[in-house]
């Protein structure tokens, strides 16, 4: 079993690992500290391994743990994984943080497996017993990690496929894959005596298919709609000219969180503009908006035709002698529809020569005055 010295050093190694993870999570972009902590962890881990193997230098303990008639021990993959981890970490230091973290993960995984395997192989002369001892110690760590990797192998490629194909094809692929998994599950349940090789073969073929599809999907990139929608600014249309895209995500504005607390609702009713402020019953033509605060209002068109609401909120000096009018707007919306407009005004309205107003382009003499304290 573990010796006193190795217990201490393993504890310090574990603590260093926790500190390293916390450091990486909390300290943004500080690679130097992470390398220092990883070095401490490795050094202490190495000492822990040495202490474990030489039984704290206690010759008697070592002799009893490794009898002369012990079965020969097979080769191990973990030294190779550990070495690869160190190399990848080195590459990561000069290339990218992610590569460094991958190397670190391989190093930690390989090192832990190596130490546990080495220790278990000296537990007794019975290899079966040694394997069970190893399993008891390492399976609680191995299984969740392997399960997460297994899930990622399926989920990541599948998500790439779904992002690459069109919406309709995506729905069909989803239904088909779901049906195949369901049918496969039913068959396996009904035929418990099915040959193991067939089951493994089918699962492997499915996994290979998904991974291949994922690679193809990632190579093809996202479908055009997603690319265009990503390039749009959903909630703040800086320009109030031509509509931007047919892929504008109107649904995003239907979220409860966005629609539950607008400061005011501005209605365009029969060609007249009026505002209804939260908490006040009667409509008004003068509303107050809090300064330097993200604010949402709802524009509701109740007039025949397509209209948009525009907010004018002063001017901004872009360079000496050149000022730019600040405005934002909704898209054109049809009668009976409504749209959310989210904006932020940083300058008080008293600082502006022009009053701040909401208006509907093309409609004269209809505006809502905006006061920003």
């Amino acid at each position: 079993m573990f010796t006193n010295g190795s217990k201490y050093l393993i504890g310090v190694t574990g603590f260093s690992a926790v500190v390293l993870v916390v450091y990486i999570a909390l300290v943004d972009g500080a690679v130097g500290g992470a390398v220092a902590l990883a070095s401490i962890m490795l050094a202490v881990g190495l000492l822990a391994g040495l202490a474990l193997f030489n039984r704290d230098g206690d010759v008697e303990v070592g002799d009893t743990a490794a009898p002369a008639n012990a079965e020969p021990i097979g080769s191990s993959l973990w030294p190779l994984v550990t070495t690869v981890g160190i190399v990848v970490m080195g590459v990561g230091l000069i290339t990218h943080e992610i590569v460094f973290l991958l190397g670190l993960s391989a190093l930690v995984a390989g090192f832990v497996e190596w130490v546990i395997q080495g220790w278990s192989e000296t537990a007794s002369s019975d290899r079966k017993f040694n394997a069970s001892v190893r399993g008891r110690l390492i399976h609680p760590l191995e299984f969740p990690v392997l399960a997460a990797i297994g899930a990622a192998v399926v989920v990541v490629p599948f998500s790439r496929i779904m992002l690459a194909v069109s919406k309709t094809t995506g729905a069909i692929v989803f239904i088909l894959v779901g049906c195949i998994v369901l049918v496969g599950g039913i068959v396996f349940a009904l035929r418990p005596n099915l040959k193991k090789t067939i089951v493994v073969g089918l699962c492997a073929a499915g996994a290979v298919g998904i991974v291949a599809g994922g690679i193809a999907g990632a190579s093809a990139g996202k479908r055009d709609q997603l690319v265009e929608a990503n390039e749009e600014d959903h909630f703040a249309h800086k320009e109030c000219g031509e509509e931007k895209s047919k892929y504008f995500d109107f649904n995003s504005e239907a979220k409860v969180s966005m629609r539950s607390n607008p400061t005011a609702t501005i209605e365009f009713v029969g060609g007249k503009l009026q505002a209804r402020e939260l908490g006040l019953d009667s409509p008004t033509s003068k509303i107050t908006i809090q300064k330097s605060s993200n604010t949402s209002i709802i524009f509701r068109n109740q007039t025949e035709g397509e209209y948009r609401l525009t907010l004018h909120y002063g001017e901004k000096k872009v360079q000496e002698g050149v000022v730019e009018e600040l405005h934002t707007c909704t898209q054109m919306i049809e009668e009976g529809e409504e749209q959310l407009l989210t904006f932020r005004i940083d300058k008080s309205s008293i600082a502006s020569k022009k009053p701040y107003t909401f208006s509907v382009p093309g409609v004269e003499d209809q505006s809502i005055e905006v006061f920003v304290p």
Binding site: N261, P262, T263, E277, L278, G279, L280, D281, T284, K286, I287, T288, Q290, K291, S292, S293, N294, S296, D346, K347, S348, I350, A351, F371, P373
Partner: protein
């Protein structure tokens, strides 16, 4: 016969027991404090009364249950204490007891739940609102702005801070938001607490039965000076409120030439106007002086000081503008005299010059703020709070004289 209890014998143990008993005693006796403006058991308005009507029976039920549970545990611990007896026979359980112990709490919680939901829905009503006030939190003060409501004489928006002024006996709806982090607005005597969240508008009903001042405090940890982010709600009767509105709608008048206050106005224009607005203040060339807190302060806002001396507090309601005696006089006045005393504002005799001067001399020394100019990289060079302006004593004299004119 051996004693069933033991007395700690070591000196350290005795001290620990004495300290624990002392702390428990202080905690117990603090419940008897008479000067406790944030006492949750003294509602002064219908919304707080609704909460009180719920919390008293719930507290009583919880107390009874607590006493029963602790008595049962105490009895079991004493009766079955280790006296060297063999371990009793282990049973798998008592279904009747277990079911009762599950069903009874479930019934109690369900009953409390019904009344709790009813109270929550009552407190969330907005359709009977008589007045609306916007409340904006930022590190570490509250801004209040009153949208146009002509029935109260508010013909133009009003902006103030520190003290929320409301008409007594009126259903006021606060529309809360925040400019930086999450804060929480709480005037215990008038209602429960409600978070002010950036980008959202949360509503809170307030109504005071009688004219008076009701104290509160930010109750969501919001950074360095969270503990010093206080507020006061001032309720005035309708006539006094109308007078207050009239006062707030006026612009600040420039002090007479040749006075110390006039010199203070120049200091204000040179230093304070970067963040603090005074409506009506003009520069030497006659153009309006406009503050630009958005360029200097992280939250993008600083208190409007147009009617500073109409309030009783400053710096996030953490310090009084009134001297102790004058403040006591206002706070302790009967409700029928309160309005007149409050509307008198901060007179020259009552101005708490000590704290105001200390604040002007070195604000961050009084209230912890992120105001060290050498440590503003993360906020893009903007302050969170008021920096030390390095004013000379002469400038402070002038500024105090000028601020005293902002009635």
């Amino acid at each position: 016969m051996s004693k069933w209890y033991s007395v700690p014998t070591s000196k350290t143990a005795r001290r620990l027991v004495a300290a624990a008993a002392g702390l428990a005693g202080v905690a117990f006796l603090s419940g008897c404090a008479s000067n406790a403006p944030q006492d949750t058991w003294q509602p002064k308005g219908p919304n707080a009364e609704k909460i009180d009507d719920l919390q008293r029976p719930v507290f009583a039920i919880a107390g009874i249950v607590g006493v029963i549970v602790f008595a049962a545990i105490g009895y079991a611990v004493f009766k079955y204490r280790d006296r060297g007896q063999p371990i009793p026979e282990q049973s798998h359980g008592k279904p009747v007891l277990e079911i009762s112990m599950t069903v009874l709490p479930a019934i109690i919680l369900a009953a409390i739940g019904v009344f709790t939901f009813q109270t929550i829905f009552d407190l969330a009503k907005t359709d009977d609102t008589e007045m609306v006030i916007n409340v904006t939190g930022q590190q570490w003060w509250w801004e209040y702005d009153y949208p146009v409501q002509e029935q109260y004489g508010i013909t133009d928006p009003i902006i103030t801070s520190g003290q929320l002024v409301i008409p007594a006996g009126t259903k006021v709806l606060l529309r809360e938001t925040s400019r930086d982090v999450i804060h929480s607005y709480w005037i215990p005597a008038l209602n429960g607490k409600r978070d002010a969240v950036p980008g959202r508008v949360h509503t809170l009903r307030l109504e005071a039965d009688e004219p008076g001042i009701y104290a509160g405090q930010c109750t969501e940890f919001c950074g360095l000076s969270h503990a010093a982010m206080r507020m006061e709600a001032v309720a005035l009767d309708r006539d006094d409120f109308a007078a207050w509105v009239k006062g707030q709608l006026s612009l600040a008048a420039s002090p007479a030439d040749g006075t110390l206050a006039k010199e203070g106005e120049a200091v204000f224009l040179n230093q304070c106007i970067r963040c603090h607005q005074v409506n009506g203040l003009k520069r030497a060339d006659g153009s309006p002086a406009i503050a630009a807190p958005e360029d200097n302060v992280w939250s993008g806002a600083a208190p409007n000081l147009t009617h500073l001396m109409s309030r009783n507090t400053f710096a996030g309601a953490s310090w009084d503008l009134l001297t102790k005696g004058c403040r006591k006089d206002v706070w302790g006045s009967p409700s029928q005299e309160f309005g007149e005393k409050y509307l008198a504002g901060v007179t020259e005799d009552c101005l708490n010059q000590n704290d105001l001067r200390r604040w002007l001399r070195n604000a961050p020394a009084m209230k912890a703020m992120y105001a060290d100019p050498t440590k503003l990289e993360k906020s893009g060079g903007k302050y969170r709070g008021m920096p030390n302006l390095g004013l000379s004593e002469d400038d402070i004299d002038k500024l105090v004289a000028y601020l005293a004119t902002l009635k």
